[in-house]
């Protein structure tokens, strides 16, 4: 501090009354913030996919949701099978590294014979990223150089074009995506929802800022001082967060860098389960509807910690001094 003394009056002026904690249970977070008919984003690109939240939405039997995600993954396949979804907005619907999402495929391939049709709205990854970027910036659309020479605009009328006022170039546009609620998983947050992520960031930041309500689900609740010690790692500030849920292993069978690895057996296993509607129903009964919460779900998977707990690769840290 080079001998300069902090002025106590200035310090006191900068200090506010501690705000009430936003930490609530997953049950209460979903009950309060996810409503029938909502547009819901549970993001996370392979990394940090909040299965715990998806399962709670299934348990609370939410209906007519518009589910948006770049990669629907197992979690949206389960929510589609459970009857939560009216519509799916996406850019890559597969079981990454393992096969297909068969509940999704059945809902789409059997149209229109299947009465419970699932409406789809399809983009590419860049298109979905751009939609969330527009949403986060509260712009009506986002321009991108994409889709020329492809059939995507022919099947999705929301992919349009605009003429650049500066160059005259025709650019593709996608509309803003502003979800009613976005749920992101993260390694840690404080009780106000100041949230830190490391490893693959996906579109967690854009999805959170684009949303009207944000639920953050974390592996660990930490003191505000832990956040303040490394502010560059914060991707979502607490003031846009409605609720913080502390749910260790809440992203299983996806992963949390530095906490646990992806449970690839579950992804490979979903191929056979999802092929058979009866097996999906029985999976949902035992692993989702038949358990009250995440702790009970984890009890169905003994040995997870030994099998998947992350090895230690701690970074050196940096000097934030001045």
């Amino acid at each position: 501090m080079n001998g300069v003394k902090a002025d106590p009056a200035l310090l006191a002026a900068g200090r506010r009354r501690p705000a009430a904690s936003k930490v609530i249970s997953m049950h209460d977070a979903v009950a309060a913030h996810v409503r029938d008919g909502d547009t819901v984003v549970i993001e996370g690109f392979t990394h940090l996919i909040c299965f715990a939240a998806g399962h709670e939405i299934i348990r609370q039997r939410r209906r007519d949701l518009t589910l948006c995600r770049l990669t629907p993954d197992l979690i949206y396949d389960q929510m589609i099978a459970a009857g939560c979804a009216r519509k799916l907005v996406f850019s890559w619907a597969g079981n990454p590294g393992a096969g297909s999402l068969h509940a999704f495929r059945r809902a789409v391939e059997r149209l229109p014979a299947n009465g419970a049709a699932l409406e789809i709205e399809e983009y590419s990854h860049f298109g979905m990223v751009a939609r969330l970027s527009a949403g986060a910036a509260r712009l009506p659309f986002w321009p991108l150089r994409d889709y020329v020479g492809t059939d995507l605009p022919a099947v999705n009328s929301r992919i349009a074009t605009v003429t650049c006022p500066y160059t005259g170039e025709q650019l593709a546009t996608v509309p803003a995506l502003n979800p009613d609620v976005t749920i992101i998983h993260a390694q840690r947050a404080d009780a106000q929802g100041n949230t830190q992520i490391w490893g693959l960031l996906g579109v967690q930041r854009e999805a959170a800022f684009a949303s009207h309500r944000v639920i953050v689900v974390v592996e660990e609740l930490v003191d505000e001082q832990v956040i303040r010690a490394d502010p560059n790692r914060t991707i979502v500030p607490g003031f846009i967060v409605a609720a913080v849920v502390v749910e260790p292993w809440g992203a299983h069978p996806s992963y949390a860098q530095g906490y646990y690895d992806r449970d690839n057996e579950c992804y490979v296993g979903w191929e056979a389960i999802s092929r058979d509607p009866d097996r999906i129903a029985s999976y949902l009964e035992t692993h989702v509807l038949g358990v009250p919460d995440r702790a009970a779900y984890l009890a169905l998977h003994p040995g997870l910690q030994d099998r998947l707990r992350a090895a230690t690769r701690v970074c050196a840290g940096v000097n934030y001094g001045y």
Binding site: T46, S100, S124, H125, F126, L152
Partner: protein, 249 residues
């Protein structure tokens, strides 16, 4: 064989947008042999990844550990891909047509598909922006129709119009690497023609499995088989469980 052939297309120091499976194997084979300075970029945001295990998905945590940079996906698509920084893009394909158009969306009509495939992911923009695109697909009549059921990613000619800047900055699919031959676009028309045959394969063997009347380029060559080193690296070090190599027979 496809992984080894694809690896040769990569030059040391190039920036490559990598897909999972055979493209990943090809890149890591190139890195272990002639191109140690290859920069691997995954759409998940891992830049300069040096995976210590075979990544099972494009978002594998091993892509992060030891990478040069990790960024959000908005940065990947805007600052890397659309910015023109990607020299080589790798794509798989369920169908490739006469004009190099790629389908990974549906077999059959879009609204009532026989088979619903995963869709674009990042493929549409990779084929748009990568300076050159390499496609890997096994040869079969179903996979190489005269025209694809759905154009997910742009090839060389779409509804009679040649690809052109500024809308399509990259060169598009410059090579289609199959399990028996390599196809390349005819510079004059953009039509895919036979450029090279694997050892022991005849023109007829290939033409039989192509849905249009396949022309050969004037200087048809033979693909060099993988070296013993290539095979040892692929089978013993890069994919010892043959997780992805089983698709490369």
């Amino acid at each position: 064989m496809m992984a080894a052939v694809a690896a040769r297309e990569l030059r040391d120091g190039e920036v490559v947008f990598v897909g999972i499976g055979l493209p990943n194997l090809a890149c890591n084979l190139a890195r272990a042999t002639h191109a140690p300075g290859l920069v691997l970029i995954y759409e998940s945001g891992a830049i300069g990844a040096i995976p210590e295990r075979l990544p099972l998905s494009i978002g594998d945590p091993s892509l992060v550990t030891g990478a040069l940079m990790v960024c959000g996906m908005a940065d990947v698509f805007q600052c890397m891909l659309q910015n023109g920084r990607i020299e080589v893009g790798f794509l798989g394909a369920a169908q490739v047509d006469r004009w190099g158009n790629i389908n990974t969306t549906v077999v059959g009509p879009y609204r009532h598909p026989t088979i619903r495939l995963p869709g674009s992911g990042g493929a549409a923009e990779i084929a748009t922006h990568a300076r050159r695109t390499l496609v890997i697909a096994k040869l079969s009549r179903r996979a190489f129709p005269e025209s694809v059921d759905f154009v997910t990613s742009p090839g060389h000619v779409y509804r009679g119009v040649r690809r052109a800047r500024p809308s399509l900055p990259g060169a598009g699919p410059v090579k289609v690497i199959t399990d028996r031959a390599v196809l390349e676009p005819d510079p004059a028309s953009g039509e895919l023609i036979l450029a090279a045959l694997y050892p022991g394969v005849t023109v007829d063997d290939v033409a039989r499995d192509i849905g249009w009347s396949l022309r050969s380029c004037e200087r048809l060559t033979t693909v060099e088989p993988p070296t013993a080193t290539d095979l040892r690296l692929l089978r013993e070090r890069l994919d010892p469980g043959h997780q992805f190599l089983k698709a490369d027979r």
